[in-house]
Symmetry: D2
Subunit: 380 residues, 4 copies
């Protein structure tokens, strides 16, 4: 077995759902060891969280700055090799810049940062130090998403015509942020979440999924953003018309007030010769409709799938895999990339990079701009 | 049993799918007798079609003008009481105007006519003579659509926030009109179909379904229309952002190039307190998601449904009803209305009227205008 | 158009669900005219029902005997050509025997009769007079059931191994027969319904569906019948292990106390090379699983289907057909058969015959015998 | 954080699917450290597997006997605390007996052993030494299975009437064991797999799921076992009629030749007041049908669920959990139980025990006996 990589985590302490998800995903394949943490912006909570998670006391830091300093002070073979940034959005930028700048590989949650300037700066930083820099657009880790991408790339859909992508949630249909829900609080706070609410949190996932599968490039968008819940400070619903280079069209919907939907990310891709449908809540299935003949139900774990889908699978067909495995697939690819980096090879791989993160930031910016504009089409 | 009503049909001869659908629907409840026809614009075909369908020779007319004249020449108790107009769209207007003007009740296929001027003229004509004038927006005849309307009207969804309606088809993904398909030919011909293709043929159904269920009124729209199949003369795909009076928002999609979809009309309605989903291809089901608690699967034929849904049902639960029964529900309501008219009562009832048809025409006009405009929002 | 056939109905008056279903199905294709009726065993109700349904007074008979006599007294070109028997089960035998014996074609509801002796007598009678004799196992009228049969017959499943058929209902989960429900009353009354309850009413449908699709012949059965609702006089749940000639095995389940199921008839057929699944409540779909490759979703109305499925369809794909059309398909085949009979041709066709009815009666008898036996296997 | 427990694994080396599943599940919650292994019956393969998995060389044993000896020779605070037995079935017994006898906690794969005598011996051994002894009937680890059990226990279904459970697979539809598939080889070999094939491998899962959810006790069974694939030495298909104490009935189906099914374990439970349906391939859903009112779709992660379902969940609603998390739930319960054991408390918990394993062995034995018997009912 390859030696497991040492990682440190920024954010993700007590009560943070996404930190635990990252740790589960990191643990799944025995490729990482949880070594250090600055788990909360409140030092006492940071300490308590570290203890609860079994971190050594001297690797439990009160701040990320202390963690960076402390880790750099250690010999290279003890030092963390990867930092995982799972704070509210506004903290991503300084942390990622500092660690990447110091030559420590980075996995950051999405949306990457608040502005394209920040994103460009991170790209530059990562290029300068050569670190692996991944952004956890975790949904593209699903095997059947990789299979969908293969179908597009191999031309089974022919020239693409249309994409319909929706990310439907209902959990913010009431003013949960006033009811003490921490998740709801920071996600609806512009200072911490950025310029957009639903569009930033989940619309950017939809953008990433769509782009990853189709390879299409946005040319112009037309957005309508709404805040349905009175007093909320960011959009909780957004709908966009899309125009891609080459003539394809699309619709993107992201909502957190659609009651009855839990985490319903759905992608339809239509080409001249066929179409695909994938739903995150039924992730082991991929529907393929050829121009002629019956619709086919492709399922994870079967021999008719391509290499990427096969390789991203851990269990036989019918033993459902889900969210966690998809998340872990990002980390597995990152571990492989770090391995290649260590051997002086090209670390590029099948994971979302800082450039994907930057495009997501741009998506949010342009959507907000379009929503504020009277012009129909806002160039992307 | 009430005496069956005598009806004549214009259009619907050999090879016309929709004419046969109307006749099946008219036959279903024994409320109508097929009495006269001008079944094709080609007199010889009209004659042949009449014979094939068992019409008397002297009620088989070469033209609709001859039918109008011939029927008016008969005594009232032999004369057709209803004309059913199932021609390509461009013929609806003169036929409907002439028969309604002559005091004969009208059922017209949709879209009603080509322009709002024509539509207004038909409204005026129908008001003048007092005839029953229905437009076969047949999808609102489904029992579970009536149940959805009830849920909205009774406030079970609370104040409405958002509507997502899609009408997804794939049958025009190739240039079928060049392959000798009669349906494809007239539907892609502006002279016969009107100013819009997919938006006119199926987008107008989506508009009607949405409006019937929600009662929301469109305030502004933002449309993008595309012709994906090279050489086609009308749009085969359209996507709209919607703004309703009172602040609700929406998305409407209509496509005939989405491979894998047959006749996939889907409606989602989201309110502050709950949400509904209905799909035409699974018409006996209606999904209701309350703000709290599990999603519920309402099914046709059960005692927990409201009167309108119960009344529009012919079979017990689990014995699926479908397209034809929904279509027949329109005709049953029309028969009841004609009965009330005959007794001097108010013929209003639960069927789509000439005013619904006019709104549908306006929807097409405004969509085409919006698609041609650089302004984001086109007032409705 | 072929001249419509004159039919008379026995049973099916006020409050009888199945009589109305038959009349809707008979009306659908304009192939029949409702001409005479003995609609109830109560003469006054028979008269009232006839009036309500628009029957001529002199064709509304107080008893089936009167109808037979009255119709035979008329000239051949006025006389009913077909009798439709939709009474409770115990009346099927005398009516069918009398009319078939008099040379009038017969469509009888199922189960055909109470005993195999009666069934054999009807076979003999029908052979003697040569009449068309159909039994409304209506579920085999569905286009996708015909497609399933084609797949088996063309060998796409290879040699058959196993059949799992279930007919799941929940409507008799409580003692509805004590709550004034007419349907529940006679169906749980041995004198009217026969020796079996759920097995007779719906188990026989399951048997017919399974046999029609697979062509397999039962060799031995092992049945367990239960009456779950206290005080009920017939089984309301039955489960059988099946052995077919040639080595195939099977499971048949029929229940009327499975809450949550409405009319859930499901068939799975497994062969060496593939498998099929069809569900009555989603009748436009047929799932085909080949040994290799993805599962396929076949849907009614598509060009890849066989002739029988295509011919049994009235609407394009995506315009769902359902129970009524399947029922009408039986009547359409019967009308064609009567036409061939009239022309002196072989009336055999794609409809369930008196022999299917007899096999169904045998199925009920053997199931009841097996349930009463301590031996594991009861020969069929 | 509680200190992670040291575990050793017997079996599960190269090419063994289930060993990897256990290790993933053990890793998920950071409650265990993989410390020692006797990973293959071939010493060289055992060594290679240990190295590949990162085991220390001196904890990589050539045989399970060597592992037991080696670990017992270590001080208690280094010694493995748990042995995980994931060998082919015939090895379970000696390994489990030896380790349990030595006071090391045991998790064994299922079916537990080959005979009830062996099972009883293991029960006695575990009681003597007081170790925690779990059997990985992993499907009962699913949160919605726990919710189903709650519904039954709280009486929401009323008195139970009927259970239908099926475990449908198709992977052994051809003679895979002759094509070099290791899994297929030992599972179809009586010496390694035991007296039954499909019934042992998956039928016993169905039995466990059914019993866990319903609490019903089998009174008598009637089984038909078949070997469809020529030359195979064990059953590949089995169907049973069931009778429970108290009058409930049931059907159990287990097949590995049903093409089109991957790992399709389905449970239906019917009571006097309601019914439940759960499917392993859609594990986040549980359908509840009350006697009155619409069917409800319960979904994992929602606040309306009971404590056991909530506690067995790691992710919010809509972020699907699947096979691995269910498996890990067994291990989490075991870790808690070992913790209680260490503190001198009662280690009983919500995991399947050696007694469940013994009942599963009995189920296999009685099924094989019934299949060989001419009597309809074989007492359980």
């Amino acid at each position: 077995m390859t030696r497991p990589l040492r990682y440190g985590m920024v954010g993700g302490g007590e009560g943070a759902f996404i930190g635990a998800v990252h740790r589960h995903a990191l643990a799944l394949d025995h490729r990482y060891v949880f070594t250090a943490g600055a788990l909360s912006s409140t030092p006492e909570k940071a300490r308590r969280s570290g203890a609860a998670l079994g971190l050594a006391e001297d690797r439990t830091y009160p701040t990320w700055e202390a963690m960076l300093e402390g880790e750099l002070a250690r010999p290279a073979d003890e030092r963390i090799e990867l930092v995982v940034v799972v704070t509210p959005n506004h903290v991503h930028y300084p942390v990622a810049k500092a660690f990447a700048g110091a030559g420590i590989h980075v996995v950051s949650d999405k949306p990457l940062v608040h502005t394209s300037e920040q994103a460009d700066d991170l790209i530059a930083t990562a290029e300068r130090t050569g670190v692996v820099f991944a952004v956890t657009y975790n949904y593209t880790g699903y095997p059947m998403v990789k299979e969908a991408r293969r179908y597009v790339q191999e031309g089974r859909l022919g020239r693409l015509r249309k994409v319909v992508v929706g990310y439907h949630q209902g959990w913010l249909a009431t003013k949960l942020e006033d009811a003490g829900a921490k998740q709801a609080q920071w996600r609806t706070d512009p200072a911490r979440s950025g310029a957009a609410g639903a569009i930033g949190d989940i619309g950017s996932h939809a953008e990433n999924l769509m782009t990853t599968v189709t390879g299409l490039e946005l040319e112009a968008i037309c957005a309508d953003l709404t805040t349905f819940v009175e007093g909320r400070r960011l959009d909780d619903d957004g709908n966009l018309l899309l125009r891609f280079g080459g003539g394809a069209k699309g619709v993107l919907m992201a909502s957190q007030v659609e009651i009855g939907h839990e985490n319903d990310l759905v992608l339809h891709v239509y080409g001249e010769d066929g179409a695909l449908t994938w739903r995150q809540e039924d992730p082991n299935a991929l529907w393929f409709a050829p121009l002629e003949g019956p619709v086919q139900l492709l399922r994870r774990g079967n021999p008719y799938l391509g290499d990427a889908a096969q390789g991203a699978s851990r269990l036989p067909a019918g033993h459902p895999e889900a969210f966690l495995e998809a998340f872990a697939n990002v980390y597995r690819e990152v571990a492989d990339a770090i391995g290649r980096h260590a051997r002086g090879e090209d670390p590029a791989g099948d994971y979302p990079t800082v450039r994907d993160g930057a495009r997501g930031v741009r998506f949010i910016e342009r959507t907000v701009a379009s929503a504020a504009s009277d012009a129909k089409w806002t160039p992307f």
